[in-house]
């Protein structure tokens, strides 16, 4: 067990770097899981809307009151720069002014230019609230046209607009989505970035240290059988990867507020398979014996590269066709695709899910084989160099 022990002795020195990643990830995850509940697609969670009421009449106040039941009303200073910043940084989804004369105009069935909305760029939030305002005004106008007074027409609009279309989710699997909430899905998505970063930043230096020329030669001429050496290294690396994966899995339990069930267990399996693939990538990179600087750069490039190209940081549905086509050649793409199925972002299909897992394992196998090939070539080159040196020495 000498090699096994040495592995962990070297690893201990590099653990602080891994710990920085872990702590940073957990901190960000707390914020992420909290903010991911802000689903703005359907009206289950409200859009952030700010209204400046310049009319200040009972009619305009009633509109504000009704809007506050539909949307989350936010208060923002009525100032050009503040409005611009709030829209740009999405502190508010929609900012509008109820113009002076709103009540009079609507009573006279004059519906144009009642509100001014401020926008930075077109957004669905803007379109949705504008559509609501249009419907509200049209309904009030229809009520007045039908002989109602303004008060009753406003009540009619509120009653009508409160009725929302029934939306049901198509269930293709018996496991309920509640097992794998949006927050937990985000956590597992980001876990791909952190797994590869932690595994590469901690495992690369250890493997490089164990693979240093002098140490390798010393180990080769010792009494340890090469198969035993390899087995001990593999066991230690597997233990380390499992440990890291367990840490994140346990943190996930705390963040989700309970044990994993149903689809969450499949997400666990997916993350473990991705850990194995990350380890295979690490082994492949170390087989080129890079310097410490190059290892750091590669960790960032591989981690961030996969995150941006495969949909970890940005949803796959928002990425361009070209980026997605490139992403297909990276394991994280399939990891995210499997998670998207579990979270309901795309339709779940057990066959497709297992195909994603198989592709990830395929990547792990491919990187392992490539590592063996690179190492074999390097060993061959070393042997050729050594034999040339010995021939030269004999001749000398």
């Amino acid at each position: 067990m000498l090699i096994f022990k040495t592995f962990f002795k070297v690893l201990r020195k590099h653990l602080p770097v891994a710990l920085i990643f872990i702590v940073a990830f957990v901190m960000i995850s707390l914020n992420m899981v909290k903010s991911s509940n802000k689903e703005k697609v359907f009206e289950d969670v409200k859009l952030d809307v700010c209204v400046f009421d310049q009319d200040d009449t009972p009619e305009s106040r009633k509109l504000c009151e009704y809007m506050s039941s539909r949307y989350n009303m936010v208060t923002i200073e009525n100032d050009q720069n503040t409005i611009t910043d709030a829209l740009y940084y999405e502190r508010a989804d929609f900012i509008m002014t109820i113009e002076k004369g709103y009540a009079e105009a609507i009573a006279e069935e004059n519906c144009d230019g009642l509100f001014t909305s401020y926008h930075m760029h077109p957004s669905y939030a803007e379109a949705l609230v504008q559509q609501f305002l249009q419907e509200y005004v049209k309904t009030v106008r229809a009520g007045i046209a039908g002989g109602m007074d303004i008060g009753n027409a406003i009540d009619l609009a509120e009653e009508t607009l409160s009725q929302q279309t029934e939306v049901s989710y198509a269930e293709y699997d018996e496991n309920a989505d509640s097992d794998f909430s949006k927050g937990l899905a985000n956590y597992f998505n980001y876990m791909a970035y952190i797994l590869i970063s932690v595994i590469m930043s901690a495992l690369c230096p250890v493997l490089l240290a164990m693979d240093k020329k002098d140490i390798r030669y010393r180990t080769s001429c010792s009494g340890i059988v090469s198969s035993s050496y390899l087995l001990q290294i593999l066991t230690a690396a597997a233990l380390f990867i499992t440990g890291i994966w367990l840490v994140f899995s346990i943190v996930g339990i705390f963040l989700s507020g309970g044990m994993y069930h149903g689809k969450a267990l499949l997400a666990l399996l997916n993350s473990y398979v991705f850990s194995i693939t990350s380890a295979a990538i690490t082994v492949f990179i170390t087989s080129f014996s890079p310097s410490a600087n190059v290892v750091n750069l590669m960790t960032q490039v591989v981690g961030l590269g996969m995150s941006f190209l495969c949909g970890i940081f940005i949803e796959q549905s928002l990425l361009s066709g070209g980026v997605l086509a490139a992403g297909r050649f990276l394991p994280a793409f399939w990891y995210i695709r499997a998670n998207d199925m579990l979270s309901g972002t795309t339709a779940y299909d057990s066959g497709k899910f297992m195909m994603c897992i198989a592709i990830e394992l395929g990547f792990a196998a491919a990187f392992s084989l490539l590592s063996l090939v690179v190492r074999k070539i390097k060993l061959g080159q070393t042997a050729v160099k050594s034999s040339r040196l010995s021939v030269a020495e004999n001749k000398g």
Binding site: N31, S35, V41, F42, N81, I83, T84, D85, L87, Y88, E90, R91, C111, D112, G113, L114, F115, T116, S117, Y118, H119, M120, H121, E126, A127, L128, Q131, L133, Q134, E135, V137, K138, R141, A142, G143, A145, G146, G147, L156, T160, Q163, T165, E166, S168, Y169, A170, N293, L297, Q300, L304, G305, F308, L309, I314, L319, S320, V323, G344, T345, T346
Partner: protein, 378 residues
């Protein structure tokens, strides 16, 4: 002597591998990844695309009016909907294969079946809401007062534009561009590592070069001044490369005031170097500790500025706005934001003055701590 020191400071700086990797190559790679990831998002969000949907009409429902509405929704070059009329099972299969975004079920009222969430599904729901509401009003009018029902229908059909939209800027409104602003801010703040080397190379207890310099006859002010100016120049070079790469290779639109973008980036680089110089001059810590301190401060500063999570700056602005005004990375990225969004220079002036003030404070504090330092032994 000053120029001699400056020349060798510049030559040695550009031979440091760390500097080339982290201040030139890494931002280029990160910028390219940002471009790949964020390049199309704004277009995807702001450009409308026809939504494919299936329609299932329940048995016994008179769908004449509904079909008329659907026909109007599917007309034109880029219609709102692309509709397939089918039965429920086929529609569910199409939804499973992601061929459609939702199923509109036409019964007594419209209902919707979706398999996921997204802007298309939201638009479908909005359409169904509108249809149901209009139907409800007409039915109520016919039930309560058939005489006025015609007026109600006419009123609903009449065009109405109650909202006039006011654009807040003429600049580039793509808010994903802030990641590129923060990338430039990151390069500027990473300049703290360059600044750190000034004190390391001038303090006898931190490096052999520092020891050599301390026992040379060159006045400390000249040596330190040359190192500081040299680092400012080197960092400015990195900033120019970074901005040029983003603007001319990745084609990032920084607005039409590019010269001011370069100037702001250079000022940011000077701020980063000054920060590193100040951290390096703190005598209590070892070189490793100082490097760790530099990197930690840089990363926290960039995180709070929105390099990792874009929305964070807005959250800070609403909760602790003073933090955005003193956080070096936020101040730097705000300069580019102001240049792009604002039509005047009032906010830019404040940001540039803040950068100058912070740079001056860090540099002066660094000089005060470093000056007249002598070593009896090392």
């Amino acid at each position: 002597m000053f120029l001699h020191n400056l020349k060798y400071e510049l030559l040695s700086s550009y031979r440091v591998k760390d500097l080339i990797i982290w201040l030139i190559i890494f931002p280029m790679i990160l910028g390219t990844l940002f471009k790949a990831a964020f390049g199309n998002i704004y277009e995807n969000i702001s450009t409308f695309k026809t939504i494919p949907a299936a329609v299932v009409v329940e048995d016994g429902i008179d769908d004449t009016v509904f079909r008329q509405v659907m026909d109007s929704m599917t007309e034109g070059d880029e219609p709102f909907l692309k509709v397939t009329y089918t039965d429920k099972d086929s529609a569910l299969e199409m939804l499973r294969k992601d061929d459609i975004k939702g199923i509109i079920v036409c019964g007594e009222k419209l209902s919707l079946t979706v398999s996921g969430t997204g802007s298309e599904q939201s638009a479908l729901r909005s359409f169904a809401d509108q249809y149901n509401n209009t139907q409800h009003i007409v039915m109520e009018a016919l039930k309560n007062d058939p005489a006025s029902a015609q007026k109600v229908i006419m009123s609903l059909q009449e065009d109405c534009s109650p909202v006039s939209s006011k654009p807040m800027t003429q600049g580039n409104t793509d808010n994903f561009i802030q990641y590129f602003y923060n990338l430039i801010a990151m390069v500027a703040i990473y300049g703290s590592v360059t600044g750190l080397h000034i004190t390391v190379n001038n303090q006898a207890n931190l490096s052999p070069l520092g020891a050599r310099k301390c026992c040379s006859p060159t006045p400390k002010a000249i040596g330190l001044g040359a190192s500081l100016i040299g680092s400012y120049i080197v960092q400015s070079g990195c900033m120019i490369i970074c901005v040029s790469f983003l603007r001319f290779v990745l084609d990032i639109d920084f607005g039409d005031r590019l010269l001011l973008v370069y100037i702001s980036a250079i000022c940011g680089g000077i701020l980063g170097v000054s920060l590193g110089f100040f951290i390096g001059s703190l005598n209590k810590f070892s070189f490793g500790m100082k490097t760790g301190l530099c990197m930690t401060i840089s990363m926290i500063s960039c995180y709070l500025s929105g390099l990792m999570v874009g929305d964070i700056k807005g959250d800070i602005a609403s909760n602790t706005p003073w933090l955005n005004n003193i956080n070096p990375a936020s101040v730097i990225s705000d300069c580019f934001y102001c240049l792009n969004i604002d039509s005047d220079y009032s906010r830019l002036k404040v940001k540039l003055l803040t950068m100058f003030a912070l740079s001056a404070v860090f540099s002066v504090l660094g000089i005060i701590i470093t000056r007249r330092k002598k070593y009896a032994y090392i």
